[in-house]
Structure formats: C-alpha cells, structure tokens
C-alpha cells in the first residue's frame, strides 16, 4: 500500500482534483457565511440542491443542471425573503428560511418517488459521488471555482465590512443590500458545485466546519480565512486517501475528520 497507488486510476485523480477545487471554494465562501451568521441560509441552499437534482433527473436533464438552477433560484428567493438581510430580525429570517427548507425537502422526496429508477441515485444525491466524477464535471467545477473565488476576492473587504457592521458600511458607501444578494448567489453556486461531490447533506462538512474551526483558532481575518482553506484541503485529501484503502464511503471520513478537528479545537480553546 503506497501513496502513489492513489493516482493509479483516473477516477481517483478526478476525485482528488475535484475535491481540491471544492475544498478551496467551499471553505472560502463558508468563512464569510460563518462571519455573516448565514449558516442556516447555507444549509437551506444545500437542502434545495436535493429536490433540484431530483427534478432534473425526473425531467431527463443532467443532474448538475438541476443543482445550479435550483441553487441559483434558491439564493435569489432567500435574498427576497430576507430583504437583503437588512430589514428583518434574525428570528423572522430563520422562520422564513425554515419554511422554505421544509417545503424543498418535501418536493425532493416527491420527485424521487415519481422517478422510480432513482432509488439507488437517492443515496448519491444526499451523500455524494466522490468516486464517479467525469472529466466534464471536473472542468465545470474548475470554471465555477475560479469564477466564485475571483468575485469573492474582489468583494472581500466590503463584504466583510457589511457583515461586521452593516450600518457603518452603508454610510461609507458600501452597497450593503446588493452585496447581500450577490453573496447568496455565490453561496448558491458554491453549494451546487460542492453538493455534486459531497451530496446535499454533507456539503456542510466543507462549508461550515473548517470555517468555524479556523475562527475558533484565531480572530485575525486573513489568517483564519487561510486556515479555513488549509483545514478543508487537509480533511478532503485525508478523507479521500483513507477511503481509497477502506470499504467505507468518502463522505463519512471527510465529515468525521472535520468534525473531530472542530471538537478538538473547541476543547483546547475553552
């Protein structure tokens, strides 16, 4: 058993490339999501990815189209419901988002039951298909990751300002409402790209946990953003590596590793 065995098969190379892209994108955008306290919105977007993919399968369209269309639409819907994150209280916001979430899950199960042949696919929609990634998927993901990271880099400072201190940011000329909608759209894109690999339920392992862990470790923004990416990469690579030599699924290892690290840091940084 050698490390080079990992690259013996094309599917494994694809999994490593896609995993890397997903880890970097999800952990960067996830860092802002945690700072903005929008993890619940992120959770909802990852859940609507499930009915989106199921609907696409039912309509005979490629599953990734379903992910992107529904996550994009979901992000816009969330922006509309929460009024750009400005006018409503947090409790109102989460009630609205929770309602969308429950409805989306219900729809997903309807589509799955309408499409009888999908029962084996249900597992991969919810828990991901790390090891069946095509070259085309890798290319799509590369495009999306680069686009999301470029936009995120461009808006990083005003976005952080608006997230930390919306009133002062607005007075300084930061377009707070537009940034809020734009961020949800980016989040939707990143979730759509990530859920194809990790599945709709395990997106969170890469979106929230590395960012939450990094923010526990340091309060320096640049450092904790960097740490978040490093943690996501480490758990993804390790998870893929361990899974390759074991009979258990990748998603389990990735989530366990990132959760384990989070718990460890929490205990140490009490």
């Amino acid at each position: 058993m050698r490390i080079s065995d990992l690259f013996q098969f094309h599917f494994m190379t694809n999994a490593l490339i896609a995993g890397t892209l997903v880890a970097v994108t999800a952990s960067s955008i996830g860092w802002f999501m945690v700072v903005r306290r929008q993890t619940f919105a992120g959770h909802t977007l990852s859940l609507v990815a499930f009915p989106g993919a199921a609907a696409a399968a039912l309509a005979g369209a490629p599953v990734f189209v379903g992910y992107f269309v529904v996550c994009g639409a979901g992000a816009l819907a969330l922006a509309a419901v929460t009024g750009g994150g400005e006018t409503r209280s947090i409790s109102q916001e989460s009630a609205a988002i929770g309602s969308v979430q429950a409805f989306a899950l219900g729809l997903g199960f309807l589509f799955v039951s309408l499409y009888h042949g999908l029962l084996t696919g249900l597992n991969s929609l919810l828990f991901g298909t790390f090891l069946g990634i095509t070259d085309a998927q890798v290319l799509t993901m590369l495009g999306i990751s680069v686009a999301v990271l470029l936009v995120l880099g461009a808006i990083a400072r005003p976005l952080l300002f608006a997230s930390v201190d919306a009133d002062v940011a607005r007075a300084s000329g930061v377009p707070v409402a537009a940034l809020s909608t734009g961020f949800l759209l980016l989040l939707g894109l990143a979730v759509a790209a990530t859920s194809q690999i990790t599945g709709a339920l395990l997106v969170f392992a890469l979106l929230v946990t590395p960012a939450a862990t990094a923010q526990l470790i340091t309060a320096r923004p640049a450092l904790s953003l960097g740490l978040s990416v490093v943690i996501a990469l480490a758990v993804t690579w390790l998870g893929l590596g361990i899974a390759y030599f074991s009979i258990y699924p990748v998603g389990f290892f990735v989530t366990s590793l990132s959760f384990g690290l989070y718990v460890l840091v929490r205990l140490v940084r009490r």
């Binding site: 400072r157 930390v164 940011a169 300084s172 930061v174 923004p221």
Partner: protein, 282 residues
C-alpha cells in the same frame, strides 16, 4: 433668539460644518420633524437631545443622506448631504457586538479606513501606512491595550472607544455619534465624553452626539440641538435648556432646575407622542 444665537445662525455657509435651513424629513408619509434650522461650526461639539422617537437619529441620517429631506435645505461641509460622506465619521446607534464576534478591534478600525474598497489589499508600503494610521487612531482613543483582542470579548466602553477610533480613522471633519454613551456606566460616560471633546478641540472636528442625558457631557458642549414636538431648537446650552425654550418646544409647561453642583434637571416633560417612528427604521 438671543443676539449671540442670531450671529451664530447667520454665519456664512462656508464657515459651517452642518447647516440646516427650514428642513423637514418624512418617513413612510409621516413627517418626523419640520422647520429645523441649525448651524454647527468646525471644531464645535453639539449634543442632540430629546425624547425617544423625536427624530434625533434621523437628523444624523439626514446629514449622511441615508434619509432624504422632504423640505428645506442642508449644507454639510459646504456640499449637499451625501456628497461629503467621505469626510464624515459615523457611529450608528447599536447594540454592542455579541461575544461570538470573532474579529479583532484593530480589524474593525481598519475596515473604517479601507473597508469600502474593492479587491484585496496587497502587502507593501500602502499597507504599512494604513497599519500605522490604524495604530495612531487606536492610540488616540487609548484603546491600544485591548485592540488586539476579539471585539466580542471587550466591555461596552472598550468597544465604544474602538468604534470612535473607527469613525476617526479617515480624519473626518465631522463626527456623528448616535448614543455612544448609552451602554456605558457613569465613569465611562464621563471619560468618553472628555475624549470626544479633546478630539473635537485639538483636531478641529465638528461633533454631533446624540444623548439621552445631557449632564455627563454638559461641561464640554458648545451647542445643543433639542428635538421635541416634531421640530427642534438649536443654541448654546444655557439658551436651550431653559424653562421658556423647552416649554415652547413641548407646547406644555416644562421646568428646568439646576442643582447645587450645576446639573440640569428637566421636570414635567409630557409623555413622548404615542405615534413613534420605529427606532431602527432605515
């Protein structure tokens, strides 16, 4: 209006930091206040007083053009409202940062300097200069010992000082502070007020500070803007906080008493009007 107040109000426009003439603001079709005229010169410290819902915060927002005037005119630093926002430091009314806020005081102050700019700051001379300015602003408000700690872990007074540093970092000519003393105990109220006065006088910054209680800041004030009865009066402290002026403003008998140690107590203010505009309306 006394002769001194008359002279003050007729100062040339270019000599005023903030000037309102017969201004009014409407929110949701209802007039918040009207017929407001005031003049604040560079380097003057003014308190904005009045009951809840009288439109004190709205005045600051009108200066920044976060809400538009529905009548009258305003000149801010020689320009129309909104045009000079880059030279205005603003500290909005707020609840303090909660304990989970994982960002340091220095980062918060830095955001006030270049947080509105797009792109990522590159390491280099500009970045080093920016850091130096952040350190200077933190030094100025005396927040250096705790500026490196997460903002959520700091006390209300410490947070307030860092927020004032944030508002000061772009070297504004006008500082708008919305109830910066509210969450503080009396000792901190007095020391933050003294800090604001020092900045005001040493750096020639005009300051408008919204407050509930005039007494901790009274010795430092040059002007008072008092909001009540859907309008406001402006003048020197001893002209405004008088039984005559306030009774006329409230359209009800109000008495101002002075204690032996120079504190002013306003007695008999009617209940604020029952139709409030929401305190956090944007």
């Amino acid at each position: 209006m006394t002769q001194a107040a008359e002279l003050h109000a007729h100062a040339p426009v270019e000599e005023s930091a903030v000037r309102f003439e017969s201004a009014a603001v409407e929110l949701g079709g209802r007039q918040i206040w009207g017929d407001v005229s005031l003049c604040l010169r560079p380097g003057e410290f003014a308190a904005v007083l009045g009951p809840n819902g009288a439109g004190k915060s709205t005045l600051l927002k009108a200066i920044l053009r976060l809400v538009p005037l529905s009548a009258g005119s305003a000149t801010i630093l020689g320009r129309p409202p909104g045009a000079a926002n880059g030279q205005i430091g603003y500290l909005p009314q707020r609840h303090s940062f909660d304990a989970a806020s994982r960002i340091r005081g220095v980062d918060l102050v830095r955001l006030g300097l270049d947080g509105a700019r797009w792109g990522i700051p590159l390491p280099g001379r500009a970045n080093a200069q920016a850091r130096k300015r952040v350190d200077e602003a933190i030094e100025l408000v005396g927040a250096a010992p705790y500026a490196g700690r997460p903002i959520g872990r700091l006390s209300g007074g410490e947070q307030q000082r860092l927020l004032i540093a944030q508002a000061l970092i772009r070297r504004p000519q006008l500082l708008l502070l919305d109830e910066p003393l509210d969450s503080l105990d009396l000792t901190n109220q007095v020391s933050v007020a003294a800090l604001v006065r020092r900045i005001c006088h040493e750096h020639g910054v005009a300051v408008m500070l919204v407050a509930h209680d005039v007494n901790p800041i009274l010795p430092h004030l040059d002007r008072i803007v008092y909001f009540a009865g859907a309008t406001a009066v402006e003048g020197a402290p001893r002209e405004v906080i008088t039984s005559e002026t306030l009774s006329a403003l409230y359209s009800a008998p109000v008495e101002v008493l002075e204690t032996s140690d120079g504190r002013l107590v306003v007695v008999g203010t009617p209940e604020p009007p029952s139709i409030h505009h929401p305190r956090h309306a944007h």
